[in-house]
Symmetry: C2
Subunit: 290 residues, 2 copies
């Protein structure tokens, strides 16, 4: 079984089963599961699984890693939505965690998803201890002060003072790029990719991260609340620096297209070494609704 | 070098060095280090190191684990002090993290300490991958939904409705007991303790956890703000169920003494197998200022 869709279902079940294994606090269980079940595109798990598929490695070996990174992504959204942070009411088309469970529970549910994410990897019988440690090292490095958390902080500080384009790129590089790069890097560890393939895929991952952000900025302008599942126009109303505010809508599309081609070229450069189709499909997904 | 005091200094340096390795966000670095440097008794690191000393194992091998559990403890205090949680202004004699850095930063600094705690263990060259995975498994299990986080949730829910004595014991068992038990269990893994010794030490750890809580409840009544480093009488003014509110001050002291003797007896039962003195010293520490 090497089908990404089936694997994504298995990853979903793995997360829910893990979170259900809590006979101490029904509230933590419900609040943690709520934000997982609120949906989302499962972009990061798809990245992990697509890379393993490209490497010809059994997808099962990536399930716990895919689960862990989605749990970390979800925890970051819960905390990001808190009144003290972005103060958002709507996420993935549903009321945000603190709107349903209250702030204290939302903080704890986020903490829980972060803590439990690593435990899902630790509990995986498919992976050797050596791979687990390497995967966790990459996962937590990119989720912590060397990645997402510091990016999040820069983003918050950027809201109160004007930032340059370089600073904008840096914020995205850490805030969203780090976790996306982690997906590929972890899959390369699990799937035992060669150094050459890993290096090229890491470059591709960086490009996907930026494409992801440009797409997000464009959708905030051209999408509607039903499609996006969160409040639209929030970047404009928050006076945020985005690719659209800096380059204009047309310019943002151009940046997207150029980078898209570069990422495609990187994949083509290794198409004799691995099956690049699943990774090309990721790029195509990023074009949907644009 | 097998001296606990010297090792505690090394653990301190390890935490600070790790947190300083952040060239992305100066704010996250400062806020994370602030709460570590605010002090505290380093009770959990002392537990880890004392157990290794009792087992006759090099203390260096416990430094990263001791650092990690103190980082987790500190993150839990930062989040616990937030306005949405206990809303405390003072901790360890200093303004709480959100009072100095604001709520958003405090949430992120807490997330950071949690994330980075595991990275300190992962980066430890002294430990085999096998020990790292086992140590992280115990650490995160007791910090997450099977331990501290669920206990924290029960504690918050207990504030709004009257709770029974059994419920009180359960809350402590998870909220503070879990991490304390983890210290011993992790040290037994690192120090390769026999099953017999591990079982007895786990019982001792449970008792230390309860002693710790009874002590905390007594100090909230008999101490003063300078000694305690946080606002006193807060349990009474918050109408919280505590050992003192349930058993009276005299009764709480009696409970403490009985349990103290039981814990001592457990240590004495293995004194031919390990050097129990460092662990007896922990019990004696819990009597100070009572």
């Amino acid at each position: 079984m090497n089908d990404i869709k089936q694997s994504l279902d298995a990853v979903e079940r793995l997360i829910i089963t893990h979170l259900k294994d809590n006979d101490i606090s029904e509230t933590i269980k419900r609040a943690s599961i709520y934000s997982i079940e609120a949906g989302g595109k499962r972009f990061r798990p798809t990245m992990v699984l697509s890379t393993l598929k490209a490497l010809g490695y059994p997808l099962e070996h990536g399930h716990s890693t895919a689960a862990a990174i989605e749990m970390i992504h979800t925890y970051s959204l819960i905390h990001d939505d808190l009144p003290a942070m972005d103060d958002d009411d709507l996420r993935r088309g549903q009321p945000t965690n603190h709107k349903v469970f209250g702030e204290a529970t939302a903080i704890l549910a986020g903490d829980n998803l972060l803590t439990e994410s690593a435990r899902v990897v630790i509990s995986d019988d498919n992976l050797s201890d050596d791979k687990k440690i390497k995967v966790l090292g990459v996962l937590l490095k990119n989720a912590g002060q060397k990645g997402m958390i510091s990016g999040q902080m820069l983003d918050i500080e950027g809201e109160t003072s004007p930032i340059t384009l370089d600073e904008l790129a840096q914020i995205h590089n850490y805030k969203t790029g780090a976790l996306i790069r982690a997906c590929i890097e972890m899959a390369c560890i699990i799937g035992e990719a060669s150094d050459d393939v890993t290096n090229t895929l890491n470059r591709y991952a960086t490009e996907v991260g930026v494409l992801f952000q440009i797409r997000d900025d464009i959708l905030d302008v051209v999408s509607n609340v039903e499609e996006l599942g969160k409040n639209i126009g929030s970047d404009v109303s928050n006076n945020k620096t985005t690719y659209v505010s800096e380059y204009g809508l047309e310019g943002a599309y151009e940046q997207f297209d150029t980078l898209y081609e570069t990422a495609m070229d990187h994949l083509k450069s290794i198409e004799t070494l691995i099956s690049v189709e699943p990774l090309m499909a990721i790029l195509e997904k990023l074009k949907i609704n644009l």
